[in-house]
């Protein structure tokens, strides 16, 4: 079909706008991370897109170097929150993926579990906040408050339905004949699962795990309620980056934000091949 030039122009305008809305804030953050205090505090006509005097001061600051200009010394550095975020998100993802895909496999192949899918959708339907107060009380009682493992456990539970539904769709789309072919050849169920099902599901597993990881990595509210001092995560720590003297420390926040963006990007690039395959899984003929 031939489209009119006006329509083509409009189409590209929409695409450019969509890209701009997505990327401009990220570019702004990246730029701000390298600006000295005078530049990131600037307003009005002094506002600059590119840092005039690029500096790593913001990064040095959040990792503990005191800043003379800010007259602020941080009570704690960003190192521990980064570790907390990594541990809680990675283990939360592992819990969600292990339990979620095992449940999805059982349900997809053996129709086990009855109403489990609906129950899991309900878990996803009501906001996690609705249950967080009881969870806080339980976690306090179990001494899981303010620990990365306590947080990882909650992350695992909250993102479990997500992992389950993604994986169930993928398992449903994998032809069961492939497993039956291996079974007929005399392999045990478990061996077939290890040698045939898992390798063939590598792409869907990788892409689902990435989605789940990003959900966990970007959580703020749960971490805010369940961690107080020792194991606060990046988003919670970031919110605390302000001082009574200068207000919000945007430069430091931007620097931390840039660091926080690294793991999902690395993971995304590492599994890019799988990501595309995972997103189109089932669209291709086997």
């Amino acid at each position: 079909m031939r489209r009119s030039p006006a329509f083509e122009l409009f189409r590209y305008a929409v695409i450019v706008l969509a890209i701009a809305i997505t990327l401009v804030p990220i570019a702004w953050m990246a730029s701000m991370a390298f600006k000295p205090i005078a530049e990131w505090q600037a307003t009005g006509n002094n506002l600059t897109w590119w840092p005039k005097n690029p500096t790593l001061d913001n990064f040095r600051f959040i990792f503990g170097e005191s800043s003379t200009e800010l007259i602020v010394a941080l009570e704690r550095t960003a190192a521990k929150p980064i570790l907390a975020s990594l541990l809680a998100s990675v283990f939360g993802t592992l819990i969600a993926m292990a339990a979620g895909s095992a449940a999805a496999y059982g349900l997809s192949r053996f129709k086990a579990g009855g109403n489990l899918p609906l129950a899991l959708i309900q878990l996803r339907l009501f906001p996690p906040m609705a249950v967080m107060i009881p969870v806080m009380i339980m976690w306090a009682f179990l001494k899981l408050n303010d620990t990365w493992w306590g947080l990882a456990l909650v992350y695992g539970i909250v993102t479990l339905p997500f992992a389950f539904w993604l994986m169930k769709t993928f398992f449903d789309e994998m032809p069961r004949e492939i497993e039956e072919a291996a079974l007929v050849e005399g392999c045990s169920r478990f061996r077939v699962f290890l040698k045939v099902t898992l390798p063939m599901m590598a792409a869907p597993l990788a892409s689902s795990a990435l989605f789940v990881f990003i959900l966990n990595w970007s959580d703020y509210l749960i971490a805010l309620l369940l961690t107080t001092r020792e194991w606060v995560t990046i988003p919670v720590y970031m919110a605390s980056l302000s001082s009574s003297m200068t207000g919000q420390l945007y430069g430091a926040k931007a620097a931390l934000g840039l660091i926080a963006a690294v793991p999902p990007i690395i993971a995304g690039i590492a599994i890019q091949k799988h990501l595309v395959r995972g997103l189109t899984f089932g669209a291709l003929k086997q």
Binding site: P175, I178, A181, A182, L183, V184, E185, G186, R191, M200
Partner: protein
């Protein structure tokens, strides 16, 4: 080598009966085709033989051994799926070697047999390629090789050629038959394509709506269908069936075909069998290939609706008082659409079926 016996097999999915009381024996080393339209229960039968489904009642025996309770992993059958079920994360070689590896065959022996089967199926050039991107034709050959390599005594194929292209299908028909001749496996072949069944099978089992209709050699099933379903289903086009009333005329039995006129006198054995029936109402059946154009106006009078000329053959479509009739002729025929034709169905080829039950009326 093993025979397969299905003993009063039934399978229900909820209220739906997929297989109704089926008895079938596949002899040792025999090539049996399970033929029928989609949803007739042929694939379900196959899955029960392989152990992927459990029968609702009845038994499956390999030789004298009841294997109804043996899980599929230990039945030792070869199974080729319609959608190949290739392990796409492995190379062609790994796919072929899979069954041998699962059985713990030694490495050197595995290599030798992979080489041999790859040679037989012309897969040698692809052996070390990843199997994910190969063409459908090659995938299906890999699937056949993967099952054949362990030399199973029972080989089950579920519509293996329905996804491959027409030219390759013709090649594979020959190769599969050759494979079976070479290894003498007991082979069960599910298909809805009667050409595959007719060309490859020693015997054909025709199924419809979960009921086994007829078992016999391709020619038996073609020449002497036991009911109108088999008559219509086998043959391309299927048997012509015209509603008729039997009438005595000068001491001989004829079929009154209404508007189309009166048939020639039935052969003596058929007439004897037909006289033994209570009802006079029958289906008058004959193969399209057994129709010839009469030189005079003596034969059946049919209106010619249209003529298909497909090179080697000519298919003429007739109308016999609202019933479609087809005739297949070796050469071109001097018939015009819109005209009236006088045709004769060879006496020897005429088959009669009871109009109430659809069952064949068979003479001695």
């Amino acid at each position: 080598m093993t025979s397969i016996r299905l003993d009063t097999l039934t399978k229900k999915f909820g209220a739906f009966s997929a297989i109704r009381t089926m008895d079938l024996e596949v002899h040792d080393g025999e090539f049996m085709a399970l033929l029928g339209p989609s949803g007739c229960g042929k694939s379900t039968t196959m899955n029960i033989i392989a152990g992927m489904e459990r029968p609702t009642s009845g038994r499956v025996l390999f030789g004298d051994r009841d294997i109804s309770n043996v899980p599929m992993t230990r039945r030792g059958v070869g199974f080729v799926f319609q959608n190949y079920a290739i392990f796409t994360h492995m190379t062609v070689r790994q796919n072929l070697a899979y069954g041998l590896k699962a059985r713990g065959t030694a490495g050197a022996e595995t290599d030798r047999r992979v080489g041999a089967i790859a040679d037989f199926l012309q897969l040698t050039p692809f052996l070390d390629q990843p199997s994910a991107k190969l063409s459908v034709n090659i995938l299906q050959r890999i699937a056949i090789g993967r099952s054949a390599i362990v030399e199973p005594s029972i080989f089950l194929l579920d519509e293996p050629l329905s996804n491959v292209d027409a030219a390759f299908r013709a090649v594979m028909r020959t190769e599969l038959k050759h494979l079976q001749r070479q290894f003498r496996q007991t082979m069960v072949y599910v298909t809805h394509d009667q050409l595959e069944a007719m060309t490859m099978a020693d015997r054909i089992a025709v199924m419809d709506h979960g009921v086994l209709q007829q078992v016999g050699t391709p020619l038996e099933v073609y020449n002497n269908p036991v009911n109108i379903f088999v008559a219509r289903f086998i043959g391309s086009p299927g048997m012509n069936l015209l509603p008729a009333t039997l009438v005595e005329l000068g001491g001989r039995l004829h079929a009154d075909l209404g508007k189309a006129g009166l048939s020639r006198a039935l052969t003596a054995p058929l007439a004897a069998a037909a006289r033994g029936q209570k009802s006079r109402d029958v289906w008058f059946g004959f193969r399209p290939e057994e129709l010839s154009v009469a030189a005079d106006t003596a034969g059946l009078t049919l209106a010619v609706t249209f003529i298909e000329r497909i090179g080697s053959r000519t298919i003429a479509h007739f109308d016999a008082g609202g019933v479609a009739v087809k005739g297949v002729f070796e050469n071109d025929v001097a018939l015009q659409a819109g005209s009236t034709a006088h045709v004769v169905a060879q006496e020897q080829s005429v088959r009669l079926f009871d109009r109430a039950t659809g069952q064949a009326i068979v003479g001695d």
